[in-house]
């Protein structure tokens, strides 16, 4: 029984997703509890798998008992065991958080929302858990299609944003599929571990080099690397609050995970560091993404859209960190995947609360929030400090490793970009904090001081998950050495 736990991580959300409409036929309000239950089980299975991997090393699960490379194999090593816990825990928290927000934004469509929500999570965990290149493509499309549907039901203008997302997303997925095709043509295998064994003899084949280019180009679109990020801000700004809180932190991070997986366990690191100039290109792409994302974030007047551009900049951190190609920087990049997922979900849940209370998410809607919603804003400040990189929040530690890695690699442009973007984050968030302290004094009557805005805190079902994320940000920061020495050190390849 315990040997079957890895497959439950995918099967539970998949089956529960298809059963959700049936549950909805019986009692509509049960769908919420049903998906929370499904995701709790999924999280438990992931956490159990993580501990199994920490104690006993990588787990190989053969689908239907077929031996690789003929059958599809699930491979869980330290890197994706961590990603599984991140994905399932964040989706659980967002599912708990989504209750009131979905009731308000999608009153009569909650049943279908939770169906697709679970399908989205299935896609995410499937991408992370699989050890087969084509299987990964299928899960990538499951996640993308569910994402299109979740974004499309958002506010005015969401369908148009979704259409652009579909076109760009399909191009990205097709490039990935072509890259897989080229690898299959040259090796005759789709199993990652098998391809890893066969490929080194073929590194000078043009087919393999084209495959590298196609795979990375496809993933760059999916992860919204700066010049091809254009689909992201519109789509995630206009999605329903609960959907953007789920997709915005996870979709980009999972594409980054796939990039790391492809570069380190399908190809050997030597290929893209010594044979091809891929690593250099990645650092410069990272620099451009960081500067571009930070600059665009400064120009925004919409809270969610600003957060979207911060996500774009953070993608640059991780791509650049991997491109620096030394153990410290890669350690920082992997830690930053974890941290950034947690920080971003924290900020997007707060943006969702602002949208729930005011109906809009402009920066000007943040007025007076510190008095109205002290707990929510406390969580927001923790998330903001973490994005800026203030110890002891988790954002500081990954940024520290990235900066240290840049110094080791002597790549000063990346170092400068990192520091500049931290400065820009300071400006961005202090602007919001300043707006949050502007008390709406009605008609100059503030002089007598008798007037107080009543505390108008978010409902508990939204507040508790948000606070939990803020606590997680600090805890991950405090225990980062434990995470590094037990998990991430094993995920960094030997260079």
């Amino acid at each position: 029984m315990t040997a079957q736990i890895p497959v439950f991580i995918v099967v539970i959300p998949l089956l529960c997703s298809f059963l959700t409409p049936l549950v909805g036929l019986w009692r509509k309000d049960l769908c919420y509890y049903w998906s929370v239950l499904a995701l709790s089980l999924c999280s438990l299975a992931s956490i159990d798998t993580l501990f199994a991997v920490i104690q006993g090393g990588p787990i190989h699960y053969r689908m239907g008992g077929w031996a690789p490379p003929f059958g599809i194999e699930y491979v869980i090593d330290h890197l994706n065991a961590m990603m599984l816990v991140v994905v399932s825990a964040i989706s659980l928290i967002v599912a708990i958080y989504s209750k009131r927000s979905v009731e308000q934004e999608l009153p009569d469509r909650a049943v279908y929302f939770y169906t697709i929500f679970l399908l989205q999570v299935t896609g995410f965990v499937g991408i992370v858990i699989t050890g087969d290149l084509f299987n990964l493509y299928v899960f990538l499309e499951v996640a993308s299609l569910a994402g299109y549907a979740l974004v499309a039901v958002g506010e005015d203008g969401a369908p148009l944003a979704t259409f652009r997302y579909i076109v760009m997303g399909t191009i990205g997925a097709c490039f990935y599929l072509l890259g897989v095709g080229y690898i299959y043509v040259s090796t005759g295998s789709l199993n990652m571990a098998d391809v890893y064994q066969i490929l080194p003899d073929l590194y000078h084949s043009k087919v393999v080099l084209t495959a590298v280019a196609f795979l990375l180009a496809g993933l760059a679109v999916k992860m919204a690397l700066f010049p091809v990020h254009v689909w992201l801000p519109d789509a995630y700004t206009k999605a329903p609050s609960a959907a953007s809180a789920l997709i915005a932190p996870l979709m980009t991070k999972i594409s980054l995970y796939v990039m790391i997986r492809v570069l380190f366990t399908v190809f050997k690191p030597a290929l893209f560091i010594d044979l091809l100039p891929v690593a250099d290109i990645m650092v410069w792409a990272g620099v451009i993404a960081i500067l571009g994302g930070a600059t665009m974030a400064l120009a925004q007047t919409d809270l969610k859209r600003m957060l979207c551009y911060i996500v774009v900049a953070e993608v640059g951190y991780i791509v650049g960190g991997v491109g620096l190609a030394n153990a410290t920087a890669i350690k920082g990049a992997i830690l930053h995947i974890l941290n950034d997922a947690v920080m971003t979900v924290g900020l997007f849940t707060v943006a969702g609360i602002v949208a729930y209370k005011t109906g809009r998410h402009d920066l000007s809607d943040c007025k007076d929030l510190f008095r109205k919603m002290p707990f929510t804003m406390a969580a927001f400040v923790v998330g903001a400090l973490s994005i800026i990189g203030v110890p002891p929040t988790c954002g500081f530690f990954s940024k520290w490793y990235l900066i240290h890695g840049a110094v080791i690699a002597q790549h000063w442009a990346f170092l400068v970009a990192l520091l500049l973007s931290s400065l820009v984050s300071v400006v961005l968030f202090f602007r919001i904090i300043e707006i949050g302290y502007v008390f709406q004094a009605s008609h100059g009557e503030h002089a007598n001081g008798a007037e107080h805005t009543a505390i108008d805190e978010a409902p508990l079902s939204m507040l508790v998950p948000t606070i939990a994320i803020a606590v997680a940000i600090i805890l991950i920061g405090l225990y980062n050495q434990t995470i590094l020495s037990n998990i991430i050190d094993f995920a960094v390849p030997k260079l």
Binding site: E141, A149, A152, L160, L177
Partner: protein
């Protein structure tokens, strides 16, 4: 050079189709035309996969009447083992069945979104929609 083009004509056609689809997705103003371009783009990749499995010289579908270990009385052991040159590789076909399903699903979602856009703006021309959006 001519030989190179003629001998690999299937790959040239896949590249050609893919570029047509790519062009339609990027340059066409009409949203439905963009979707058609997207479909051509995906079909081109399916053609690519299928043509990698082809073998010249009469290779057929791998349906094995007497597979190993079955009904081999009277026939020498191993006589029915697969001769790879006689059979086309079935795996790309199987992969593409999955890819076609993905393609159909994408097409369905894209058309549904286009219907939403049409209901909201009353047009499918991108420039007209952008005008309406800017006007607010």
């Amino acid at each position: 050079m001519f030989e190179f083009i003629v001998n690999y004509y299937n790959y040239w056609m896949y590249i050609g189709l893919m570029m047509i689809g790519f062009y339609a997705m990027m340059a066409k103003r009409n949203l439905v035309k963009k979707i058609i371009g997207m479909n051509i783009f995906q079909s081109a990749i399916i053609f690519f996969y299928i043509s990698t499995s082809v073998k010249k010289g009469g290779a057929t579908v791998p349906i094995l009447e007497y597979a190993h270990g079955h009904a081999t009385h009277g026939i020498e052991h191993g006589a029915n083992a697969i001769d790879v040159m006689q059979y086309a590789n079935p795996l790309p076909h199987v992969l593409m069945l999955t890819a076609i399903v993905v393609m159909v699903a994408t097409l369905g979602v894209a058309l549904a979104v286009v219907i939403l856009i049409y209901r909201r703006y009353g047009t499918l021309e991108e420039d007209e929609i952008m005008k309406l959006v800017r006007r607010g």
